[in-house]
């Protein structure tokens, strides 16, 4: 199958000493998988497209440095039904069957195109390609190439700082800084796609330190809403000294304390046993339950897993090594921007969400989408957002007047009060981390502890909003970005805990030790939003899962 020739034009950039400007149909913020698929989808729909990334499109994001499973199921009714049914209970009955079918269909089609573009999928025993996973570096290198082929203009090392808005509150583009070339960038666009990933709070997980929830903050400044933010406490196992948060192979591990085997601990069913033990003492792992002849296969499936061990001279199959749990927040959690229609439009006119920046509850429910569902979601939501944004932009042509567009950024950019000397991006970030990292706050949640965090985070937000130094003070590009990242993480933590406080039950990954059971009366998704005042509300629509259909 050959792709249709592109019908669109490459956007024109205007360069000056102060940076670059452009006016396009669609701006994509974020150059990970979702952003790439979105840019390709928009360009193929005839839009002129600019993609900006704060790092480099091709290496940025959680997928690039990983081995990624894809939720890819052949279009056979039985296999599809099994894949969907297996997720419903795991996700706490918050999934949507229609969306799951759509994602499986779109992922199947788009991964097929990835194969057409030449991705070298392995050949299985039956002689056909095995398309259930990709290697991150190769996947992202090829996606970037396809983005360029689609005549999308990429601005690397160009973090977005804020959205632009019309007086009516529609999105009108974004602006940011050029951290390698100096100066600023400003792109007017009728539609903007937020593909900035989830938020992992700079916890040091593999490839995740670029994921600080920047897009969430920018979208919230235009009034966007979120869903499922209580499902934000995914923790990944990693060697204590290392960034490699690839958890899959720990299914072969036995976990130990100094005293001996840590009973009940495991990577799947027993991760909370590890968390509890880590509150008291070091925990060690050894992959001593791996079948004898499997090492070569494991090395091929996920080479980066072995990097830290090979370099440290540790044999993980025979030697114990210390492990920790790193917070992966909404990267492997499922909360994010609420999507209001099948094109992944947010509640803000012209603003779309794709990938981990969007809620993945529709296909994951309240349980992690890490490793396969998130990858399928990036492909399908990216494609839909791209097409939807292109159609929306076409409808806006000739309407938009760029003259009265305003920049919408506030916290960390334009202090509302007197700048506070002791408040820096580093101190704000550390204060947020103190609230979201500890297992006895975030992994295991309870009302009184959540209340304490919420009060301190509210106070931190007020101070950040009022006094964190921003762009007007002539800071360097890196400083301004850090301030925005810090503000974004404070906002993110407040949405997480506001939702967690309201969900007085245990469901999906959200674990309330004061409400340890699943409450059938709370089988509803929860929305959250707001900056100075955080609000939450129940989704008035019940999830369309099997349990609901059967009822």
């Amino acid at each position: 199958m050959r792709d249709a020739p592109p019908t669109h034009v490459r956007p024109q950039l205007s360069s000056s000493d102060n940076g670059v400007t452009a006016d396009v149909d669609v701006l994509v913020i974020g150059g990970g998988p979702a952003g790439c698929w979105a840019a390709i989808g928009a360009a193929e729909s005839g839009a002129s497209v600019v993609l900006v990334d704060k790092g480099y499109c091709g290496t940025t994001g959680a997928a690039a440095s990983a081995g990624v499973g894809i939720w890819y199921i052949e279009p056979q009714e039985e296999a599809r039904e099994q894949a969907i049914a297996s997720r419903e209970a795991l996700g706490g009955w918050l999934v949507d069957r229609d969306w799951m079918h759509r994602v499986l269909d779109e992922t199947y089609a788009q991964v097929g195109r990835l194969a057409d573009w030449g991705y070298p999928f392995p050949i299985g025993e039956d002689g056909t390609q095995v398309r259930r996973g990709v290697q991150g570096p190769e996947y992202m290198r090829r996606l970037r190439r396809q983005v360029v082929r689609s005549r999308v203009r990429i601005l690397d090392h160009s973090p977005a700082l804020e959205l632009l808005a019309t007086p009516a509150g529609e999105v009108a583009g974004a602006r940011g800084v050029r951290r390698q070339h100096g100066g600023e960038w400003r792109v007017g666009a009728a539609a903007v796609i937020v593909a900035t990933g989830g938020c992992a709070f700079l916890s040091g997980g593999l490839g995740c330190d670029v994921l600080t929830g920047d897009g969430h903050l920018m979208a919230a400044e235009l009034g966007a809403e979120f869903s499922g933010m209580e499902f934000s406490n995914a923790y990944a196992i990693s060697p204590t000294f290392s960034s490699v948060t690839k958890t899959a192979f720990y299914r072969f591990a036995t976990f130990y304390t100094e005293a001996g085997v840590l009973e009940g601990a495991g990577s799947q069913r027993g991760r909370s046993v590890i968390a509890r033990a880590l509150l008291e003492q070091p925990v060690y792992a050894r992959l001593d339950r791996a079948p004898a002849d499997i090492e070569d296969d494991l090395r091929r499936a996920q080479p980066n897993f072995f990097l830290p061990f090979d370099r440290e001279g540790i044999n993980p199959f025979t030697q114990r090594f210390p492990v920790t749990l790193r917070l992966e927040g909404t990267v492997r959690g499922t909360g994010g921007l609420r999507v209001g229609d099948e094109q992944c439009a947010t509640t803000v006119p012209g603003l779309y969400a794709a990938g981990d920046a969007a809620t993945r509850e529709l296909i994951c429910g309240g349980f992690t989408g890490g490793g396969s569902h998130n990858a399928a979601w990036a492909i399908s939501s990216g494609t839909w957002a791209g097409r939807g944004a292109a159609v929306y932009a076409r409808g806006q042509r000739g309407i938009a007047g760029a003259s009265n567009v305003r920049p919408a950024g506030l916290a960390g950019l334009r202090p509302a009060g007197t700048p506070e000397r002791s408040l820096t991006p580093a101190t704000v970030t550390a204060a947020v981390q103190d609230e979201v990292f500890p297992y006895d706050r975030n992994y295991f949640r309870r009302a009184d502890v959540l209340n304490g965090s919420i009060e301190r985070l509210d106070d931190l937000w007020q101070r950040t909003r009022s006094g964190l130094l921003g762009v007007e003070r002539g800071k360097s590009a890196a400083d301004v970005l850090r301030a925005r990242e810090a503000a974004a993480m404070v906002a993110h933590a407040r949405w997480m805990y506001a939702s967690a406080q309201e969900r007085t039950e245990t469901r999906g990954m959200h674990k309330r030790i004061d409400h340890p059971e699943l409450d059938p009366g709370q089988q509803q998704r929860r929305f959250v939003g707001g900056l100075d005042e955080v609000w939450t509300a129940l989704d008035p629509q019940a999830p369309r899962s099997a349990l609901e259909l059967a009822a």
Binding site: T59, G67, P120, P122, P137, L206, I294, P303, N304
Partner: protein, 125 residues
């Protein structure tokens, strides 16, 4: 973290400066990249993967290693066959066999690759 840029191997192509997602490098006066913001390194190994001459080394530690660490000693890294070892694993570079076609995903791994979090499974136990 990124610990070593080999002056002898570097061909001054600037690729690492361009591809580092956290912008840790700047071009030095002699054209060889300098690690100017090591504290921003997220230990993702991407620069190593993209370096066409196996001139970079990222230590597995998420903190900087001491100045006398073997991870900063080019000859020691070569002796231990570590320089370029990640590119060899993923099959990037001349005369190397591409990684993905060899990734046959053993049967034991065919189930959802990553099941994290834990609460739901425990709740249903």
């Amino acid at each position: 973290m990124i610990e070593l840029v080999s002056k002898s191997r570097c061909i001054r192509c600037d690729i690492c400066i361009r591809v580092c997602p956290t912008n840790v490098f700047e071009r030095g006066q002699d054209g060889v990249p300098v690690i100017v913001r090591q504290e921003d390194c997220q230990t993702c190994f991407m620069c190593e993967a993209w370096c066409p001459t196996d001139a970079l080394f990222v230590a597995p530690q998420t903190e900087a290693v001491p100045a006398d660490s073997p991870y900063r000693d080019e000859q020691e890294l070569i002796r231990r066959d570590l320089l370029g070892s990640y590119r060899r694993e993923i099959g990037w570079g001349k005369y190397r066999e591409a990684g993905p076609p060899r990734d046959t995903r053993p049967a034991v791994m065919r189930e959802p690759l990553e099941i994290g979090g834990g609460a739901a499974l425990e709740g249903s136990r």
